[in-house]
Symmetry: C2
Subunit: 331 residues, 2 copies
């Protein structure tokens, strides 16, 4: 396949690129800037540009069989601070992309939505794809609207999309720039011997998925020709306290944790029902949480002295944002 | 109450203004332009402006106890033609309004959403407010997103909103400018002796509500101090063919109808369950469809020679747009 990966230098995007290259596909990455911690991947074509330039953007997707859309201008935390950026930078930008794809005759799209925010407070657990969509933050409101526009294009304009709704994604290449994602903040705190502040009392439960498993599903989905919407998680809930214990275990270091008041944008529990992806693609997560944390810890250790881009470090690690799929790239 | 009515020169807005004035409330209308077919209402303050001017806009809501938001930049038909206008002119503009209201300390908002588009294809009839929101056109996608942002402000910023989801609203002051709303197109065709073109075979079923009943509910809701989301319809389904027969009956003129192919954005049936509004506000529609059509027919007859603003007349009358609440004003 000729693949265009929007946000291919970001967290999830870069892992999808690795997987595509490994499978022998042709890959063009579209990004605002190069990856922070490694050079260009051999055989990959890179196009660096400001996404706001519509003509340049159109040229980057020309000739593609499939477009992977793995860009976000916001995180769940930053979206509530600046909903206009969600609306302009994510929603309007994606609707513009759908229009460009229609004009270019490109029908395959793999979009990374979010299983952590589109459902809001779950009415059943684990959460199936048919669960009502009742997002409780700006980031989720816009993800739902984007999914709806993608569905509209599928119904009326021949688009053949796959929408993935990942759980809290974690893994290498995330969290060195100061993002608030929980797993990387915990590992980073262990590495630097710094205390970590947490929203809430640690009882919040999430479903953690290793980025390699998500990248594998994204490529499987693109290769399949199947369309639809799919949860992507482990199906298992882990509390923040249990996660902290696991991080201490794999790192061999104890963590000093400062628990704070909870946030309105955090649902108490989120666990995804992923039987649809299993039934349709034969996909199941292969990386167990302990193993994935150990691998990610090893990466933090190995890259500890490498220079990264500067980034503002938020006061508290966020469980909603934690390991959510936000790439470090932005539209 | 000191009331600000955004879009108060539009279809629904102007009827809300009448009701507020009748009840002795102080009313300021914010609009892009005066009403097309009547002069200013006595005792009402008018502010005409371009909504894009944020500072001017902020000044117009200063001092209000309640803001009625009855503006739309699009119709269901025009939204699919230009989704960016939905996103910028409706969604971003409303999120901006919420921000201005928060800064001004105004907590009461009455927002007119749409019971005809937010639910998509009904899974049960009549449709309760708890029905999943699965809009199938751009107009509906953006209405859902706006409702979600209003709910978010209610949860996190003290907003006390009422969201109304009206059925297909019809009545006087609609349809003279060439909009495609079904009831007024049928009456207009009867008046002018022109044939009327319909999307689909006439089997589509809708729930029709007279604008006076909606205006009464909007004012009741504002006066109540209650917050929540409420359907507003008759609870009765009427097919397009039955509506055409009724229009022939009340006008005493036979209609020549050209039935065409159906549209993807039209759901086959929409009837709203309005027991919540009845239980909470004691509200029930008072204007029966035949009576409301006769009154609206009389208005078309009486105003037939009055000059109106020019407007493009679409080829076909649309049942989705028909009597939907779209005011002729736009943000």
């Amino acid at each position: 396949m000729r693949c265009v990966v929007l946000g291919g230098c970001g967290f999830i995007g870069s892992h999808v690129v690795d997987r595509l290259v490994g499978a022998g596909h042709s890959v063009r990455v579209v990004s605002r800037r190069p990856e922070a911690l490694r050079g260009p991947v051999k055989g990959v074509e890179y196009r660096f540009l400001d996404y706001g330039n519509r003509a340049s953007f159109a040229a980057t997707i020309a000739g593609a069989d499939v477009v992977f859309h793995m860009i976000s201008a916001t995180t769940p935390a930053s979206g509530d601070q600046n909903p206009m950026l969600d609306i302009e930078g994510n929603l309007a930008a994606t609707v513009g992309l759908l229009d460009l794809m229609e004009q270019a005759g490109i029908r395959r799209l793999v979009y990374v939505s979010s299983g952590g925010v589109v459902y809001g407070t779950p009415q059943e657990l684990p959460i199936p794809e048919t669960h009502p969509l009742r997002p409780i933050n700006s980031y989720g409101i816009v993800k739902v609207a984007i999914e709806s526009y993608i569905d509209l294009s599928a119904r009326t304009k021949g688009l053949m999309p796959v929408i993935l709704r990942p759980a809290n994604v974690y893994g290498t290449r995330l969290g060195r720039e100061g993002h608030e994602f929980l797993v990387s903040r915990l590992l980073r705190s262990a590495l630097l011997g710094q205390p970590v502040s947490i929203w809430g009392d640690g009882s919040i439960v999430r479903d953690y998925l290793h980025v390699n498993d998500l990248a594998r599903l994204a490529v499987l989905a693109a290769e399949s020709g199947i369309t639809g919407t799919f949860n992507a998680g482990s199906g298992t809930g882990v509390s923040v306290r249990a996660l902290i214990d696991l991080v201490s275990e794999v790192s061999g270091r104890s963590l000093v944790v400062d628990y704070g008041s909870p946030r309105a944008c955090d649902v108490p529990v989120s666990i995804l029902d992923c039987t649809r992806a299993r039934d349709v693609f034969g996909w199941m997560p292969e990386v167990a949480l302990r193993e994935g944390l150990a691998q990610t810890w090893a990466w933090h250790l190995a890259t500890r002295n490498e220079t990264t881009l500067p980034g503002a470090i938020p006061d508290r690690a966020s469980v909603t944002a934690s390991g959510d799929h936000i790439p470090s790239d932005a539209l």
